[in-house]
């Protein structure tokens, strides 16, 4: 069996997900043993238009980026969205809460009309092309990434948890963030991070996106029980899940 050829691409993002691949440290050697990394601008000068698997980080914010992701999709047998920006739009979608003209002017003032400073509504990859698999998180979890790569190498469909962060948070034996009177998105956020933030004393802000069927009614009720409002919840939800926050508005 020949090694699958993998290419890594990025769109609007912080490139922190690619960095997690670098951060695999010694395991990178295992990774390149298992797959042929044929293009990876951040780490390699080699370039190649022939690949089987495209790992794509970042969200789509300009018409020319739409064209580029379509081309990548066209070449790749399997397209994997890497990280919150690619999977759900991530913090980049905060932009969509504003009028784009206002956003551009706010940043570039009188120069805002220069053609290269144009921008469009932020989109997650699946809003532009078909995405085969999604590795959520901001940034991606290295263990989960390794798991997905190994699955793809043996033709197994990777399973990303469908349950909430609370499951992993309980396994870590953390005190619930609600006990500290904090607004935590753990109960409605997809697990897989090992409850990283609550385990470090911080609330979950939903970077892995919501579970398939989040109970928004319950969320409302819970906010009241803890002396918070649904607006507090929506405020936090907007960070990574602007679309969801608006859908439930």
């Amino acid at each position: 069996m020949s090694k699958p050829r993998v290419a890594i691409f990025d769109f609007a993002c912080c490139e922190g997900c690619q960095l997690q691949i670098v951060n695999m440290e010694e395991e990178i050697l295992d990774l390149i043993n298992l797959v042929d990394v044929v293009e990876w601008r951040e780490a390699m000068s080699e370039q190649n238009t022939e690949y089987d698997i495209a790992l794509v980080e970042g969200s789509i914010t300009r018409p020319e980026d739409e064209e580029r992701i379509k081309e990548i999709r066209g070449r790749a047998k399997i397209l994997v969205a890497l990280g919150a920006c690619a999977v759900i739009g991530g913090v980049n979608k905060l932009k969509n809460r504003f009028d784009l003209e206002d956003v551009r002017r706010y940043v570039y003032h009188d120069d805002a009309d220069m053609p290269h400073l144009q921008t469009a509504q932020t989109k997650a990859l699946h809003e532009v092309v078909d995405v085969d698999y999604k590795i959520p998180g901001c940034p991606i979890d290295r263990k989960e990434f390794s798991y997905v790569v190994k699955c793809l190498a043996v033709g197994k469909k990777p399973e990303i948890p469908s349950y909430s962060v609370c499951v992993e948070c309980k396994m870590k034996e953390n005190v619930c963030r609600f006990e500290y009177n904090e607004v935590c998105l753990g109960p409605i956020t997809r697990a897989g991070c090992g409850a990283r933030c609550p385990s470090n004393g911080f609330w979950c802000f939903g970077c892995r996106g919501l579970v398939d069927d989040p109970n928004v009614n319950a969320a409302k009720d819970v906010m009241e029980k803890y002396g918070k409002t649904i607006d507090d919840l929506k405020h936090r939800l907007a960070l990574f899940n602007t679309d969801e926050e608006r859908a439930h508005a």
Partner: protein, 342 residues
């Protein structure tokens, strides 16, 4: 076997001595909560703890546990990860739960992964000194216990009664030094403390008798409470995960980087999670939140009792505290379905 008496200083000396020789795990304060963890000194042990976030179940059935290793070209081998330790300060309701797991993992098909861990652990139980906010063991008949443990510690005044029940218990009593036997008066005091704990560990009052729950539930399958409570359920599984008697698990394969070898492990699962009863092809046999919610209370109050003759809920109250939506109080639910009956 025998019941001895130790003061706090002697107890500490004994625990410190144990720590030198063995892995000793006990209830201790970690951050702003109590949990079971490895002790490095007797001073960390808090026998006056009220409740640990997770029950000591985590040492018998860890959140994840390797079961077998495999090679893709065929070949499977068992992995056993028994972890010998002395487990200090197990409360009666948790001891009750451990005994229940012993039964469930051994009957029909003996699970030797569980059993090897179980046999490697010596349990020093401890009568409750501080009642937690949500405990209702007094209503479930689990506030005190007289079997299952190797040693039971009971604090009477400034002394501990040390009730040694098994050879395993006897084996770790080296280092006690000269110890007086408990007197009849001591034992009377222990009886009184037990009676008192039956009353104190009742922060929620279950109105129907425990033994009546299976019948009561049998008549309440279509009770409106399931829909009503599930309306606010996140399906987050917190109640499952903190429960000392929940033992459902999922099984997964993990490949090594060579993708020709790896291991199979089990990981805690929960019947409240949305996809728990899903089958290949995506049909979900318990798709509705209310069905899952009902299943959990039936399992604790009916299915387990009908299977092994014991309550499946030991009244620790962890689920009551862990549920952010505050809908998981078994007492409230069982009381509701008992309304208007007998």
């Amino acid at each position: 076997m025998s019941i001895k008496k130790l003061d706090q200083a002697a107890l500490d000396r004994w625990v410190d001595g144990l720590i030198e020789r063995k892995k000793v795990v006990g209830a201790a304060q970690r951050g702003d909560h109590f949990s079971f963890g490895e002790l490095t000194s007797a001073s960390e042990l808090r026998l006056d703890y009220d409740m640990s976030i997770l029950p000591p179940k985590k040492y018998f059935l860890p959140p994840t546990e390797d079961l077998i290793s495999f090679r893709r070209d065929g070949g499977f081998e068992s992995i056993f990860e028994e972890d010998p330790m002395v487990l200090l300060g197990v409360h009666p309701y948790d001891m009750f739960a451990i005994s229940q797991l012993d039964t469930l993992f051994s009957e029909d098909n003996d699970d030797i992964h569980y059993r090897k861990r179980r046999e490697a652990i010596t349990i020093v139980a401890s009568d409750v000194q501080t009642a937690s906010e949500d405990v209702f063991a007094g209503c479930m008949g689990t506030a005190t216990i007289d079997h299952g443990f190797d040693i039971l510690l009971t604090k009477i005044g400034d002394q501990y009664l040390v009730d040694i029940r098994t050879e395993k218990g006897q084996a770790i009593t080296m280092g006690f030094g000269e110890m007086p036997d408990a007197t009849d008066d001591d034992l009377d005091q222990r009886e009184r403390l037990w009676a008192e704990n039956q009353k104190v560990l009742r922060k929620h009052e279950l109105r129907p008798a425990v033994g009546y729950l299976p019948k009561l539930l049998g008549e309440s399958y279509d009770h409106p409470i399931w829909e009503e409570k599930a309306e606010l359920c996140f399906s987050c599984g917190s109640c499952n995960l903190v429960c000392p008697t929940c033992y459902c698990f999922d099984v997964q394969d993990e490949l090594n980087w060579d993708v020709t070898s790896g291991h199979r492990y089990r990981i805690w699962d929960g019947c409240m999670l949305a996809n728990f009863a899903i089958v290949a092809g995506d049909h979900n046999f318990r798709a509705a939140k209310s069905e899952r919610f009902r299943h959990r209370y039936f399992r604790k109050g009916k299915y387990i009792p009908e299977k092994i003759g014991q309550t499946g809920c030991v009244g620790c109250g962890r689920c009551v505290s862990a549920c952010v939506a505050k809908i998981a109080n078994p007492v409230e639910i069982y009381n509701r379905i008992a309304e208007g009956k007998e």
